[in-house]
């Protein structure tokens, strides 16, 4: 052993990735009893096939009402992403170390941590309790949920932004606001817009499920079909439509984000 290493405390000599990997393996193997299930002798594969068999063929007769539900889902996602973007812009200023004093950064980050800790489904339950079972509850739930994430992303964008252009404009006599608007914001805008697009995609997925607890959108349809005994073919149609819309949003969102990234890096 290297003599310098010999003089180090034992914990400094540990290979951190190696130790954590061993701990991870220990956790995984000690959790094996969770695989035992109920202990009843069930025909797992047969059950699965019988269940999925009822999905086909999907019931196309409900396509119209499914599209209405999906449109409501997209509307919930759209308006809540919009509202969350506005709230996040203000909150992120408070959470950015390069802009705000330490005490404000601490308070804002704590608040955002608390918001992020609560899952979207729980926000939805809270909102349904507050405003009843409708799409407004979905909007409230997803606005809170997305604000927790967007404000964090925005504040990181503010912290890593290149301030040179802003300072150059101030040295050319512009006001602080003008230097922000024409020096800093143009560099931030593509990054922030990219985060908003990602959040919109994410919210469409989230808005699909919060209806399960009554917060509007296609989730309510899913719940109804899942609870009635012979509607799995309707359920499968809803899933299929969701798959199409989420894939479409994923694809276009990624395309737009990639194009913004490349333009900013000067690759196009």
């Amino acid at each position: 052993m290297n003599p310098e290493m010999k003089n180090m405390p034992w914990y400094n000599r540990l290979d951190l990735p190696g130790v954590t990997f061993v701990l991870f393996l220990l956790l995984a193997f000690s959790s094996l009893p969770a695989l035992e299930g109920s202990g009843r002798d069930l025909d797992y594969w047969g059950n699965f096939l019988r269940f999925t068999d009822q999905f086909f063929p999907p019931d196309w007769s409900i396509l119209g009402q499914t599209m209405t539900g999906l449109w409501e889902t997209v509307q919930i996602a759209g308006i809540s992403t919009f509202l969350a973007s506005i709230f996040s812009l203000f909150l992120s200023l408070g959470a950015a170390r390069t802009i705000s004093p330490r005490w404000l950064v601490f308070i804002t980050r704590m608040l955002l941590n608390i918001i992020r800790t609560i899952p979207s489904l729980l926000w939805a339950i809270l909102a349904v309790v507050l405003v009843g079972s409708n799409s407004l509850a979905g909007v409230i739930a997803l606005t809170f949920y997305s604000t927790g994430y967007l404000a964090k992303f925005f504040s990181e964008a503010f912290e890593s932004a290149d301030l040179k252009a802003q300072k150059a404009l101030q040295s050319l006599g512009s006001s602080r606001w003008q230097a922000f608007q024409y020096g800093l914001w143009p560099n931030l805008r593509p990054v922030i817009w990219s985060h908003c697009l990602w959040m919109l995609e994410y919210n469409v997925r989230s808005a699909s499920i919060i209806g399960y607890v009554g917060a509007g959108g296609i989730g309510l349809h899913l719940k109804l079909y899942a609870e009635s005994a012979d509607s799995w073919n309707k359920f499968s149609l809803v899933l299929l439509c969701m798959l199409v819309i989420v894939t479409f949003l994923d694809f276009t969102g990624e395309k737009v984000r990639k194009s913004i990234r490349e333009k900013l890096e000067g690759k196009m």
């Binding site: 040295s171 050319l172 006599g173 512009s174 006001s175 024409y182 560099n187 333009k263």
Partner: protein
Amino acid sequence: MIEGKDLSLRIGERWLVQDLSFSVNRGEFIALVGSSGSGKTTLLRGIAGDIPLAGGQTITHTTSPLPIGMIHQDLQLAEGSTTLKNVLSGCLYRHSSFQTLLGFPEEEKGKAISLLLKLGLQKKLHQWTSTLSRGERQRLAIARTLLAQPSILLADEPVASLDGKWAEITLGMLKQYAQAQDACVICSLHDLDQVDQFADKIIQADPQKPEKWNVLMNTPNKV
């Protein structure tokens, strides 16, 4: 227009400039000459007031609302903004934040486009700055400062990334700016032919004693 009296600058323990005195008159083009690392950028930043002087002072004789404007070596442009908006951001101090909230006056746009035309960027007006080449970005930074119209224009190696043709056009524009606007230009340059061609005076780092700077009138083969 501007006087330096016994200027001294240092970084840490290293003296880059000691007891430099100079005066620059209206309409003059001054070349700052020295090898890499000799302190040209530090001297320009010291004159601009970006960094504190270790000794001496600068005195400016101007009533302009923008006494000093600098073209930085690292350009300091808004990458996600268009070429036209980057140039126009040079005129912000002439207008209130409210006036420029939604755009710029047509008169300023006209001036900006005319500058970009002279600098060969007329086809890139609405292109993001990040997509321009280094040479185009350098010309853009020059256009921004020219639109700002400072009384004392400091330029830190403004033609380092330009080919011969554009370097000559750009330096010609800077010289013409000094004469036409009753301003002065202090510009760090490496190419001695350019110094010979454009400079009225030269502030040169002494090759034997780098912290000593000499002020020379430009005559052929002086440097």
